[in-house]
């Protein structure tokens, strides 16, 4: 990885060290939140916020999930469901976490409340429910309308009303009322960070691209876990300046860039290096992805914090219909000068696998060729190095 790895490591270290301290401090509360859940509300109410999906990705990237998924399977969590869930529940049952080695935490921080939003899938509900039962912790869910062709005012009103009900229950847990100004500040910071994140990703429109998807999934940590904080904004401002310098200097993420690829779907966390090398060896840069772009929330507006949060979190790619997704990928293919799309069909994540309903064929008919690679985010039983190598190399040969 060529893009500020040390800086992002420090930002993430500070975040996790603070989480560890919060979990031990009787005066502080810890909330668990889904990755595109209402983190700004939790931050504004003073919670230290922990994101189990980030833990799932860590379990996958360190390949600890290889040991922990089967444990969850044996406890009745099917191999067919979200492998973030099975990795994480298995890790809890086994009493392991990569956070110990990486950041010195004894365990994941015990929650005072669990907050999920099913804007991405229903598995997060089942996942958080397990912890709610295990630790007898309050479980609060936001259930927005799903797979929307268009986000309408009534959808926004529905979710904003759910936020208000949830805030009442959170106030009962913290013993204090939500400070609206604190919420406005968190939303403003999230907006600033997400705008900077978008600008960071857009530097890859340059030829050659200064960062690839494989850099992106590393430096995206702060936009996932630190939305609503100054730390995220500061980090992305510095990263953007660095990447803009690389664009001017024509410094390539993949030297000799010959092809520009769009990655659709989840990363294969346990094979990032393998895939990064595979593309680089074929002088192909993965310049854009649905996954990294999923943390761009251009609707955040401090003047209307709850409504704008509702709109932003309803509008995410994964919560939209197929026509929207098709138009979205087509637009990005044009903006980033994409030669072809690699669709990752993640066995345990059908909600974030968009090759199942003929989308690749429709886009191919409009001049955007693609290939479907079977795999998974964490479960390497579903991924073949050999087959994926042949598929991707053969695809690049045809472009």
């Amino acid at each position: 990885m060529d893009v500020s790895p040390m800086d992002v490591k420090q930002v993430m270290r500070d975040y996790f060290v603070d989480l560890g301290e919060a979990a031990k401090d009787p005066g502080r509360k810890v909330a668990w939140c889904t990755s595109v859940g209402p983190a700004e509300i939790l931050r504004a109410m003073g919670f230290a916020v922990y994101f189990p999906e980030n833990h799932g990705a860590l379990l996958g990237a360190t390949r600890v999930s290889t040991d922990t998924i089967p444990i969850a399977n044996a406890h009745g969590y099917s191999p067919e469901i979200c492998s973030y869930l099975t990795s994480d529940i298995g890790a809890c049952l086994k009493g392991v976490t990569p956070l110990s080695k990486a950041y010195g935490l004894d365990s994941v921080p015990r929650p005072d409340v669990l907050v999920y939003c099913t804007n991405q899938c229903k598995d997060v509900m089942h996942w958080f429910s397990w912890y709610a039962r295990r630790w007898n912790v309050p479980l609060l869910g936001i259930h927005p309308p799903n797979h929307l062709p268009e986000v309408l005012p009534e959808h926004v009103a529905d979710v904003a009303a759910q936020y208000r009900r949830m805030i009442g229950r959170l106030e009962a847990i913290t013993g204090t009322l939500l400070d609206l100004e604190a919420l406005r500040l968190a939303v403003a910071r999230s907006r600033e960070a997400t705008d900077l994140w978008e600008a960071v990703l857009n530097t890859a429109r340059a030829r050659p691209a200064p960062l690839s998807f494989f850099d992106g999934v590393i430096v995206m940590g702060p936009i996932v876990v630190l939305r609503g904080t100054q730390a995220a904004t500061d980090y992305y401002r510095a990263l953007l300046a660095e990447l803009q310098g690389k664009v001017v200097a024509r410094q390539a993420a993949v030297p000799g860039e010959r092809l520009r690829i769009y990655w659709e779907g989840m990363p294969v966390w346990g094979r990032l290096r393998h895939l990064s090398d595979l593309f680089a060896n074929n002088r192909a840069t993965v310049v854009a992805s649905t996954y990294c772009n999923s943390w761009i929330f251009s609707d955040f507006d401090a003047a209307q914090p709850l409504d704008s949060m509702a709109r932003a979190y309803l509008k995410i790619f994964i919560n939209r219909d197929d026509a929207y997704k098709e138009a979205y990928i087509e637009r990005l293919a044009g903006e980033f000068g994409i030669d072809g799309v690699v669709y990752h069909a993640a066995r345990t994540c059908p909600n974030n696998s968009n090759s199942y309903y003929n989308l690749p064929q429709r886009l191919a008919a409009r001049g955007i060729p693609g290939i479907v690679v079977d795999g998974d985010l964490c479960d390497l039983r579903c991924f073949s190095d050999e087959q994926s190598t042949t598929l991707i190399e053969a695809f690049l040969e045809t472009l």
Binding site: P369, V372, C382, T390, A394, E397, T398
Partner: protein, 301 residues
Amino acid sequence: MSTAADCDRPSTDATVRTEVFWGVDCGSAEIKVAALDREGRLLTTRRCRTLFPLVEHVHRSLAGQGDELSAIADGDRDRLPADGRQPGLRPGHKVFATGYGRHHIGFVQGQLTEIKAHYLGVQHQLRLQQDYTIIDIGGQDAKVIRATPSRVEQFAINRKCAAGTGAYIEELAHRLEVPMQELPRLAAAHDKDLTLNSYCTVFSGQEVIKLLMHGERVENLIHALYRSVVKRVLEMTAIDTDTLVFSGGVMSHHPILVPLFAERFDEVRTILAPNAQFCGALGAAIHGMNEESDDGLPNHQ
């Protein structure tokens, strides 16, 4: 003057004109080798089982025996590669690799995927002038390649499991206790169309056992096995073509599959590629010729 150290490197002397282009297809079941002269004429083909260390068996295939054509330099012909030492090649010989093992042969001059290799091997031999579709069934995968006279347009490879591949046929032959080479003859003697439904090789084996227990004839089961292969391949991608070309070892050993594929189309011309099992190796050699021509255009037509 050449030294012992020179023998550790492939011969890449640019001043020596390449006379023989070798292609090696390292498949899951067999290593296939083909050699072409500068005009693209086939000089020899060889095959052996895929065994390990892979590089030793590739070396043996390329070295040949006795008076056979050898790609390996005389001094290294009987000296198997070991400890990372690579054999020297004879002056004027170049080797190119394809297949799943292609990245594991250190002394080749280039590599390409099986998709492109099978296409080049088919097109070199048939010189088709219209669009067509290749169905290649190998030991562990099946491929459908949509081709034009000048390029691969699109392709699909079987997903996740072995059903519809050589491994599937081999496993069920084992279950039925029938030698592989007997399968086509027995299938031709079928008197009933049965269906094996499962995606999964293991579950298909269970279906076969259940049918046997119900007294079904082995001939009907073998015919069902072939029909199942056809079904698995055709569900990989929609094929819209008037010319189907078959390549690969499975098609070569089980040509009974050709009419079974044909009957699934309204009107289609079917061609079993010459040297079907060696199309990948031939294509690798053609790729080498194209690389040397360096004009980016196929020079095999």
